[in-house]
Structures are given as C-alpha cells and as structure tokens.
Amino acid sequence: MSDSTLSVRNLTIEYTAKRGNVQAIRNVSFDVQRGEALALIGESGSGKTTLGLGIVQLLPTAAQIRNGQVTYRRFGKNGQAAEVDALGLTGNALRQFRWRDCAMVFQGAQNAFNPVLRIADHFADTAKAHGAMSGKTLEERGKHLLTQVRLDAERVWRAYPHELSGGMRQRVLIALALLLEPQLIILDEPTTALDILTQRNIMDVLKDLRNQLDFSLVFISHDLSLAAELADRVATVYAGKIVELASVQIIFKAPVHPYTIGLINAVPTLAGDKGDLTSIPGSPPDLIDLPSGCKFHPRCPLADEKCKREEPELVEVGEQRGGKGGHQVACWHWQNARQTQKAFGVKA
C-alpha cells in the first residue's frame, strides 16, 4: 500500500466558457507523501487554484472534472490506511472529508470572515457543522491552536474579525483549518497581499506547525521564494499541466525543464548580480486556444518540429541523471536544457 496521503491520477478539469472550453487542468498526476510539504508554483492562469479546488470538490458549476481519480488515504493509529475516493464522495461523506480529512485555506480568505461573529463563534460554527467538540473542549482546543499560531489566544478568541490585522486573520484561518486535525491542508497563496514582515511571520508559523504536528501541506503560490523556504518538493505548473516535479533542491539548483529554468532565472534575488537575470519571451498561453504539441514550445529556445507536434508526458528522469528517483519532467529535450539555459530572451 502506498504511503502517500493523497494520490491524484490523470486529473482533467475544464471550464465551459462562451469562446470554448478552458482546459484548466490537463491530465495531472502527483502524490503527496505523509508529512511532506508540496508546493505548486506557476503563473496566474496556470491552473494551480483549480487543482486545489478540484481536490476538495469545490469547483464552480462552470467546471467539470472530465477524467481522473483523487485518492485520499486516512491513516489510523495503527498505521493502517483506509482509501477514500475523494471525487466519488457526496453528501455527508463529502462533508466529513472536507475539513476533517482535508482542509483548504482559500486565497484572500482572511477577508472573508463573517464580520458580526467573534472568532470563537467561527470555531464553534465549524465544530458544529462537522459534529465535533463543543463548549469547554472546543474553547480549550481553539485557544491551544491560536497559541500555536503565535496569537494571544485570550484576546483573539473574544475578538471580532475587524479587530485583527490581515496577518492575524490569516493565522486564525490556519488555526481554524487545523481544528479537526486534518491530515492534509491546502493553502492557496497563503502570503499574497501580506506585508514582508507579516509574510515572514506566517512562514515561521507554518514551519513550527509542521514540526509539531503531523500533517501534509500543499501550497499553491506564484512566489518562488515561498516554495524555496517551505517546500520539500516542488511542482512547476504550466498551462494546466505539471511540467516538472522534484525535490526543492533539484528544482532550484538543477532544474531541467526550460520553463522552470526560465522562471527561476526571471526572479531577482537580493544576493544576485544584475547579469544573472533573463526573461522568458512571449506570454503565457490562452487556455481556450492552446498551442499544439508542447504548450511551452512558442516560448521555448529548444523547441523543434517534434515539440510542435507532440506533447511530452511527465516521465521519471532522476535515475538517468545519476541521482535517485523522484525527479519527473515533461520535456523532449530535458537532457539539453541545462546547457541552453542562458538562451532565454535578452540577457539583462
């Protein structure tokens, strides 16, 4: 039996739009191991959020899951796992899956608290909806979690949302997500729209929690530095597909997909020299009218006829590169990618 908390296989999600179907997620497969943090990085419109929403079945009605399986494994105390087909759940079973098994913190949700309810009531509502604890037990658990996310539990428990800053509200949400002890937490852009020092605080809180508690984390971000800081493994998403998936070290130090290489070269670092940066030519594709073959070929310096014709699948290359397994890439020319990494755009 697999030791992963979540297995996604061949997931395909489309949105129906006037102009045609938006292919937001195309044949995506990946696993989230127990206790690991997986980062999904990509630009806006690459399909990252749709992927997260698909896992918890919260897609808007315009979206359809065309294909694929999402298997969640609920590990018991004895280490035995019960498999749950997350896409097949309905009614009460789905209700239990969400939050008890898999909690999601949405982008910008720190602004979506009910303004007339105290934080305590938000905890109570969640517990009640899931038939969990109440009264003293709830208060103790709630305050304990608030302390774990470095908040003044006594004050925050009684506070209204408007009395808290954006960063504090984001930490309340993380505490709330942990209320029912889920094994998997999905965070969508957890630090976007927060100030640098607040971002740092959220990151430190997440690191602490991962050391203290046993849960897997999937976080969705366009911010590469957040992935570098928090992730064990990183998946690069381009045009609705994972194009490279590997450990954080490999993604940042030895990536082989031209898009990953381009993306990393495009982000300025504090220590960096001016000449280190290059830009990826062109712009991200229209998801309704995708290019043929490899979706990155119009922007790729390595593209040839084959790339225009056939789309490469995500394949394991770790052993071929002389390392262990666990490095997957979808590129016909991954073996040449490193040598040509300076071929991007205009050199700065």
Partner: protein, 327 residues
C-alpha cells in the same frame, strides 16, 4: 547634475472619520535628472502618497515640492502645464488604467493630439506606431486597432508606458508597475523601462514593496526605505541591500525569503520586539519604529524623532544609533 524634483519637509495628512492620519511625514528628497530612485516599504508606509504628490495628483499638507528649482505651488499656468507634462505616472493595475472602450490607437493618439504634439491623422498615426515600437510592441500595426482586453497584462503595461511617453516627459513615476504582471515577463518589462530611461535620459521613481526587484532596477541609482510615513534610510541601491544601516532595513532584508532553498533557510533572522504594526492614527512617540526595534536604546528613541542624517558612504539614515556613531 541638477535636481528635477526636490521635496522639502513634505508632509501629507488625510482626514478619516474626523481623525487625522499622517500618511507622509516630513520627507525631504532630491532626485537628479536621469536618476533612478526606488521607494520601498510595506503597505501604508506612504510610498504611493509620496509618488502622487510628486506627480502633482495630491498637494502636500505642508512642505514644498520643487520642479527644476521652482516651487510647484507658485508656478504660472504655463509652467504648471510644463511640470504636469514633464512628470508622468504609470499605475499599478494595467487592467484598470486603460479605457476598455478605446482602441490602443485612441489611447495613445488622444494625448498626442490634445497637447498638440502631432497634427493631422497621418502624423499622429506615424507617432503612435513609433511609440508602440519603442515599448517593444511590434509590429505596431497588430496592436493599433485592438482593445485593452485583447492584450496580456504585460502588453497592457507596455501600452501604459507608451501613453506616458506621448508627452515627452523627463520624469516617470512607476507605482508597483510590474507587480500585477506575470513573473516570467517582469524582467523584460523592467529592461524596457531601463532602456527608455537610458535613451531618453528619463529620471524614474520606482515604487515597489520588493527589495530584490528594487536592487535590480535601481542598480546604479538609490533605494529609499519608508516606514510609517517617514524616510528611514536612503542609499545607493547595492549598498543599501548589502550593508543596510537602519534596523528596520536590516529586519526587512532578513525577513525576505529568497528563491534559493539553501540561502533562504540559512539566513539569520532578526527578531522584532513586537509583531504589531502601529496604527497610523496613533503613531508611537519619538522614533516610530521604537516599539518593534531590535536595538532599541531606551528613552532617547521614545522621545526624539531621529532626523535623516547623511553618512560618509553616500547614504542617509534616520536612527539614533547610526547618527551617534558617525557624527
């Protein structure tokens, strides 16, 4: 070199629900012709308000702003027009700052014709095409009849730049101009701005919250760090990032995660004394950073507002600790 823009003790207050908010407090800053200055700081630190005052979109509550040596509040009508044309702004959101009902041609042609830079259809069209080429929207004929919604974020921002250039400005204020553009194309947009600056001798005030981006863009210029309405440090770009003097700058730099797993996890963090950001309504006495400052000196920091003091290395720092040592 002469100063194109100079701020002398500029403050700006806003009244919100009968309470006075000091958005910008006693900022003095001179920007040379052709110079690049980046303003960085967290939201609410006053960087956008400063930019808007320089652009003439807001007037200071106290203090004066000089354009090429003349106080802008005393300019004649003609001089004021020259100033407003000379200082142009590029806004953050390219989805909101372009009229969705106008074609790209109209967007760029309107200011050209209104201010009499071109006469007649043929001349205007030629100039619009030239401007589109300048901002790397090529071939220009592909864009003339398009509407903003048909362009990507990066392309729209290039249209905004072209529009700012229509009136031949000598100073550009770019307020978070690349923060809404996809990561993979930010650098090419910044490179375009840098090239235009060099070719046209433009001075640029670049407002951003991203210090790494500021260092890249301001490479030969300066970075100013603002905190709760005041300039706390301003220095040559690389010097500021490599040898920050003000404790706030040091804290910021230590807090920024880097896109390199080894570097970012090894980084030494400077802990703040408090995570609470003070409200602009109740600014702390003395140095506004004192309740959070990791090197808090005591009474002096609580009571005396530190002045921005020029240092030997070309920077300027507003901190009692730094001021004491060097002077």
């Amino acid at each position: 070199m002469s100063e194109i823009i100079q701020l002398k003790n500029v403050s700006r207050t806003f009244e919100v629900k009968r309470q006075i908010i000091k958005a910008v407090d006693d900022v003095s800053l001179g920007i040379q012709e052709g110079e690049v200055v980046c303003l960085v700081g967290e939201s609410g630190c006053g960087k956008t308000t400063t930019g808007k005052m320089i652009a003439g979109m807001l007037s200071p509550s106290s203090g004066s702003i000089y354009f090429r040596g003349k106080d802008i509040s005393t300019l004649s009508k003609d001089e004021f027009k020259q100033y407003r044309l000379g200082v142009q702004m590029i806004h953050q959101d390219p989805y909101a700052s372009l009229n969705p009902a106008q074609t790209i041609y109209d967007i760029i042609a309107t200011p050209l014709q209104h201010h009499g830079f071109t006469r007649g259809e043929a001349q205007t069209r030629a100039r619009v095409r030239e401007l589109l080429q300048t901002v790397d929207l090529t071939p220009p004929d592909d864009f003339l009849e398009k509407y903003p919604h048909q362009l990507s974020g990066g392309q729209r921002q290039r249209v905004s730049i072209a529009r700012a250039l229509t009136v031949n400005p000598s100073f550009i204020i770019a307020d978070e101009a690349v923060s809404m553009v996809d990561v993979s194309i930010r650098i090419s947009l910044l490179n375009t701005l840098t090239r235009l600056k060099d070719q046209m001798g433009l001075a640029v005030l670049f407002i951003t919250h991203d210090l790494a981006l500021a260092k890249y863009f301001a490479w030969e210029g300066r970075i100013g760090v603002m905190y709760l309405g005041r300039m706390v440090e301003i220095s040559p770009a690389r010097q500021l990032v490599e040898r920050p003097q003000h404790p706030y700058t040091q804290v910021l730099l230590s807090a920024i995660p880097e896109a390199d797993p080894d570097a970012t996890r090894r980084k030494t963090r400077i802990e703040l004394r408090s995570m609470d950001v003070p409200s602009l309504l109740r600014l702390p006495s003395g140095c506004a950073f004192h309740p959070r400052c990791p090197v808090f000196l005591g009474q002096k920091c609580e009571t005396i507002v530190p002045r921005l003091i020029p240092q030997k290395d070309g920077g300027a720092v507003a901190c009692h600790l730094v001021g004491e040592e060097k002077i």
